[in-house]
């Protein structure tokens, strides 16, 4: 295969985006068929490139080290394959779910553009190229959120743009420092010790990576988007694409660009961020009353596991983190898609209004249940395997606190999914929703595919672990040690696994207790936790957006702008009132109009500026 094949995953979706945009809105069937077929083509490209394992394309572009440099290797091929897979599932799903959307042309165009940009970012081997594609994703995210057509959609879209933009700028600064430290812009040529300047670069780039993945504190737009954006966007971006890209970059930062040592300061930063994200986000998820918002908080929480895994800097932990990334993408997408299926048939995702839908929507319920069990880490699904790997790694760092945080997260994850599943599908049939049946096959099929994959990746974990994950960590093992994670993966009778099972039982107990207390209403199952003494205040503050740095940041900037304006305005007035005419040389304009003296103002500033410049120059020249 020629090297330029590497450009196809980028150019082909972009071209399809244009075509899909230009098709008039009324030609529905052709558009849908075209979209699905294109995604299948891209998926095929992903498979064939993955089988190739190694390919590079390098074109001189701008000089100064900025080249058109793409590289396909195990890791990027794996991510590329995953991206194309999710693109296919989302597109298939969208053919029904987004059928009557007024701006359908734009929707498909943005989806394919986002795929093009994501592929470019994954394949890039030159930092400048990476920045280009990474930033471009901001636009497609913004545009897709506005397609939610809610009154607050635009505001949320701007929020995602600004938060994303801040993280991206941080990443650019980090890349600049990397360039200053290593002298090259080619990604696979950089390998630095994180000291001093390089440490700062590590932190800055890390912010960019985890911001894209949606970790705290850069997460606040995701729950808003859960309500304001179309649910297919939620399945597409925050659930799968952004996690894949963000954790891909984080893994590369920790493994390739910088030498992350066990227990080093940088690793501690990652561990702390990961643990905090897991716990804080899962507490927020627990009390949610809307299914989509609950799922979005879980998405944030699970990112914590991935970051925690990578932060352990121990092979099994890192492998666990990366494996968790792909697993999470699968079951979270499945969960969002099933939420969408429920929304499609009943028109709502509020837990209060739903109930007992399992009889009428059996396939959706099945898919949801499998994915929910997977995310909770129930044996023998894929979530169990990756979580166990992360637990092992966390324990080996020597700081049990992180493992404890991870287990606490596991408890409440399961508890909240018990609540969610119970409220939506099981329990008494809700009277607020009319009788319905299951969704059409293009909606249900992706969910089931993902559920089957969850089971497969769990039971037959050799497949993903040996083909995808282990090659990434090749060369990282201690001499003599054989890298094999699959051996004890499904072993239920180890202490670690035992603690995990205990957590699940605790969660079951909590849920049951809350359910009873709430008068046998499933959606109130989390209320006892909600109303615990300290937690209640924290929850209320959270609802009031007290912890949302974006909101606080906006308030601060508006205040600052006002203050600075006054500081510039008042002195001008001061000069006008007290010191009217020129301070230095002389021309008082005889200008008589309503704003008397305003010209003199300007002149005063001008001459004043001249004097300052003169003084500075002479001072510096002495």
């Amino acid at each position: 295969m020629m090297a330029t094949t590497l450009l196809w995953p980028i150019i082909f979706p972009a071209v399809m985006a244009l075509i899909l945009f230009l098709l008039p809105s009324r030609i529905k069937l052709i558009r849908e068929v075209l979209a699905v077929l294109s995604s299948i083509v891209i998926l095929y490209l992903g498979f064939s490139l993955f089988s190739l394992k190694n390919l590079t394309l390098n074109v001189d572009w701008l000089g100064m080290g900025i080249n058109f440099d793409f590289r396909l290797y195990q890791f990027s091929a794996f991510i590329l394959l995953a991206l194309s897979g999710f693109l296919f599932l989302t597109t298939l799903y969208s053919t029904i779910k987004m059928k009557d959307h007024p701006r359908i042309r734009e929707y498909y165009a943005y989806i394919f553009l986002a795929a093009a940009f994501s592929n470019g970012a994954v394949l890039a081997n030159n930092f400048i190229l990476l920045i280009f594609f990474w930033e471009a994703l901001l636009i497609t995210t913004y545009a897709l959120i506005t397609l939610g057509l809610k009154p607050t959609s635009h505001r949320t879209a701007v929020k995602s743009l600004i938060i994303g933009g801040l993280c991206d700028f941080s990443m650019i600064m980090g890349i600049g420092l990397v360039w200053a430290s290593s002298g090259t812009l080619t990604m696979d040529a950089v390998h630095l010790e994180p000291h001093g300047l390089a440490a700062a670069a590590f932190i800055l780039m890390m912010i960019g990576a985890i911001g894209k993945a949606g970790a705290m504190p850069f997460h606040t737009w995701i729950p808003d988007a859960a309500l304001d954006a179309p649910v297919t966007f939620m399945a597409f971006m925050p659930a799968s694409f952004e996690k894949l890209l963000g954790i891909y970059l984080l893994a590369r930062i920790s493994l390739d660009f910088f030498e992350l040592k066990v227990g080093s300061a940088m690793a501690m930063v990652l561990l702390i961020i990961g643990a905090a994200t897991i716990v804080l986000a899962v507490f927020m998820a627990l009390i949610q009353k809307d299914l989509k918002k609950l799922l979005s908080f879980h998405a944030i929480s699970q990112v914590g596991y991935m970051i925690l895994g990578i932060g352990t800097a121990i092979p099994i932990g890192i492998a666990g983190g990366i494996f968790h990334m792909i697993n999470h993408a699968m079951y979270k997408t499945g969960l969002f898609l099933s939420a969408g299926s429920v929304e499609h048939r009943t028109g709502t995702t509020e837990l209060k209004k739903l109930g007992g839908l399992a009889r009428e929507m059996p396939w959706t319920a099945l898919g949801f249940s499998v994915c929910a069990l997977a995310i909770s880490g129930v044996w023998p699904l894929n979530g169990f395997v990756s979580k166990e790997m992360v637990f092992h790694g966390a324990l080996e760092t020597g700081y049990p606190i992180f493992a404890i945080a991870a287990w606490v997260g596991a408890i409440f994850t399961f508890a909240s999914f018990l609540k969610a599943g119970h409220s939506v599908f099981f329990g008494a049939r809700s009277t607020e929703v009319p009788k319905t049946r299951d969704s059409q096959w293009p909606i249900v099929l992706p969910i089931l595919i993902l559920a089957i994959l969850c089971i497969t990746f769990g039971v037959y974990n050799r497949l993903p672990l040996e083909n995808f994950i282990q090659p990434i960590l090749a060369g990282r093992a201690e001499p003599g040690e054989h890298l094999d994670f699959t051996a004890g993966a499904l072993n239920l009778f180890t202490p670690v696994a035992g603690v995990s099972m205990l957590c699940l039982l605790i969660a079951l107990g909590l849920h049951f207790y809350g359910w009873k207390r709430g008068g046998k209403k499933a959606y109130l199952a989390s209320e006892p936790i909600h109303h615990l003494p300290v937690l209640k205040q924290l929850y209320d503050l959270s609802e009031a957006r007290f912890f949302d740095i974006y909101e606080q940041g906006i308030k601060f900037l508006v205040w600052l702008s006002r203050v600075l304006f006054k500081f510039i305005d008042r002195p001008i007035d001061f000069i006008y009132e007290k010191v009217v005419v020129s301070i230095g040389r002389f021309f008082t304009g005889l200008f008589q109009k309503a704003h008397n003296g305003q010209y003199a103002n300007y002149l005063a500033w001008t001459i004043g500026g001249l004097i300052v410049v003169l003084w500075v120059m002479l001072k510096l020249l002495q």
Binding site: G165, L614, L618
Partner: protein, 492 residues
């Protein structure tokens, strides 16, 4: 024929009032646009000799006698000529329809051509005093053009602009005089040569301070900026575009940096001072822009802020910094020209410039809204538009030169820039349609065409950034980076 850049517009401008008596609209339109198109093609054709030889010198022979009209063309000049012709052409295209508001197209075009001739002349002459004179040519034309509408607000703004400009010109002249006193000559080459031998750093410091003030006022550098937010909004939209997009850069940035780099030579002291002023401009103007209700005032403050970026980058002194500054100059000329023309479209369509009165225009006038968005995103530095690349290069250059504080300022100000531009978008184009605008229609053909051309430029330069960079920016940056050697090389 490099001299055509100066002579052709002047001659056509002289003829236009007479032509205007015969044909009020058609011939002036055609003639002006043809002239500018010719100049644009001419500037593109000149790339080849510059690439091969590095610089070009031309003399005029008047009936065999060697009349002392000399022009020196190098990468930097050519780049400016290209920018001037390109943006002016789009502006005159826009004016074809827009001038219906004012009438008297012939007068307007004549003044505009004189301004273009003045700018071209400023860019081409290798002589200090001639720079001052051509500065005045362009300035006088611009005073008249700002006041073209003859309303009280416009006249007042023009007068204030005039009075402040005159102060600036006086200081520039004073500085030129001092340099003449020091070296006894006025041509770049002679001055550059003589200054190298002279040990007059203190006096030169004073001269430079005057230059900074004079040209800084023309470039609207803080604290010499106060005239711009009053002058630009009151002028007719095409003139605001000319001023913000071209004049402040040519008569301010070009003149200052040409003298600083090629004649006197960049020193660390100067670099510090200019970088500090650039950074102050960026921040102060960006914050002031946030509170404005008039679109054009907000755009005017944004111009001040972006010129701050250009000056900050050019003052770093490294080749990458110079390249970034020049590229940003080009991008800003295109994008800000676009935005001001666009505000003219909005004013034409709705009759108001107040952001609080507009709303939801995006559905009714998609072309205007779309081009406005492209221009705004380009200046804010969003990929894949052109502004992203220039801002990126500037930030990288700052980091490379170890100016981390400035880099941080540049990055944060970028976010501010994005914010207030999104504010314009939201207030004017998105959101619910204000009932007043139920019956508006899209802007007339030439206005939209000019907007679309400029928007496409933003996009294409962003995507095909490499060839543009290699052809235009790199030679220009090299010409400046060679410093005083560049001028000494000319061998006049």
């Amino acid at each position: 024929m490099v001299f055509s850049f100066i002579f052709l517009p002047l001659v056509i401008a002289a003829c236009l009032p007479l032509i205007g008596k015969i044909s009020k609209k058609l011939i002036p339109d055609v003639l002006t646009n043809a002239t500018l198109a010719f100049l644009l093609i001419n500037s593109i054709l000149l790339i080849k000799p510059i690439f091969s030889r590095g610089s070009l010198l031309q003399n005029i022979n008047w009936f065999g006698e060697n009349v002392n009209l000399q022009i020196a063309l190098d990468g930097f000049n050519l780049f400016m000529l290209f920018t001037i012709s390109l943006v002016s052409l789009c502006i005159t295209l826009f004016s074809i329809d827009y001038l219906k508001h004012y009438g008297h197209q012939a007068n307007f075009y004549a003044l505009l051509l004189v301004m273009v001739a003045g700018m071209n002349g400023l860019v081409l002459v290798p002589d200090l005093f001639s720079i001052y004179l051509f500065l005045e040519v362009a300035a006088v034309a611009s005073y008249a053009l700002v006041a073209f509408g003859l309303g009280p607000e416009e006249l007042e703004a023009s007068f204030k602009y005039l009075m402040l400009s005159v102060v600036a010109s006086a200081f520039v002249l004073l500085s030129i005089t001092m340099i003449f006193g020091l070296t006894g000559s006025l041509s770049f080459q002679a001055v550059a040569r003589d200054l190298q031998d002279l040990n007059a750093s203190l006096v030169l410091g004073v001269c430079l301070a005057f230059f900074i003030m004079g040209f800084g006022l023309k470039a609207a550098l803080v604290p010499f900026h106060a005239w711009l937010p009053d002058a630009h909004p009151s002028a007719p939209a095409p003139i605001s575009a000319m001023l913000s997009g071209l004049l402040i850069k040519v008569s301010g940035v070009y003149a200052l940096f040409r003298i600083v780099y090629s004649v006197i030579g960049m020193t660390p002291v100067l670099s510090k001072v200019l970088m500090a002023m650039g950074a102050i401009s960026i921040v102060v103007a960006a914050l002031l822009a946030l509170g404005q209700a008039d679109i054009k005032r907000m755009l005017a403050y944004s111009s001040i802020s972006q010129v701050g970026y250009i000056i900050l980058a050019l003052a770093i002194g490294t080749p990458l910094g110079i390249a970034g500054g020049l590229f940003h100059l080009f991008n800003h000329a295109v994008a800000k020209g676009l935005l001001f023309l666009n505000s003219g479209s909005i004013q034409h369509i709705t009759g108001t410039r107040n952001l609080n009165e507009l709303g939801g225009l995006g559905k009714k006038v998609p072309v205007t809204a779309g081009t406005n968005l492209v221009g705004a995103l380009s200046i804010a530095g969003v990929p894949p538009l052109a502004g992203f690349w220039s801002k990126l290069i500037i930030i990288i250059a700052l980091v490379q030169a170890n100016h981390f504080g400035y880099a941080l300022v540049a990055v944060l100000a970028s976010i501010l820039t994005l914010w207030y531009y999104l504010l314009i978008q939201r207030k004017a184009f998105f959101g619910p349609l204000n009932d007043r605008w139920q019956h508006i229609k899209e802007a007339p053909f030439w206005m939209s065409a000019a907007n679309v051309i400029l928007a496409l430029l933003c996009l294409l330069v962003g995507i095909f950034f490499s060839p543009i960079f290699k052809t235009w920016i790199a030679p220009a940056a090299d010409a400046l980076a060679r410093g005083v050697q560049q001028v000494l090389m000319w061998g006049i």
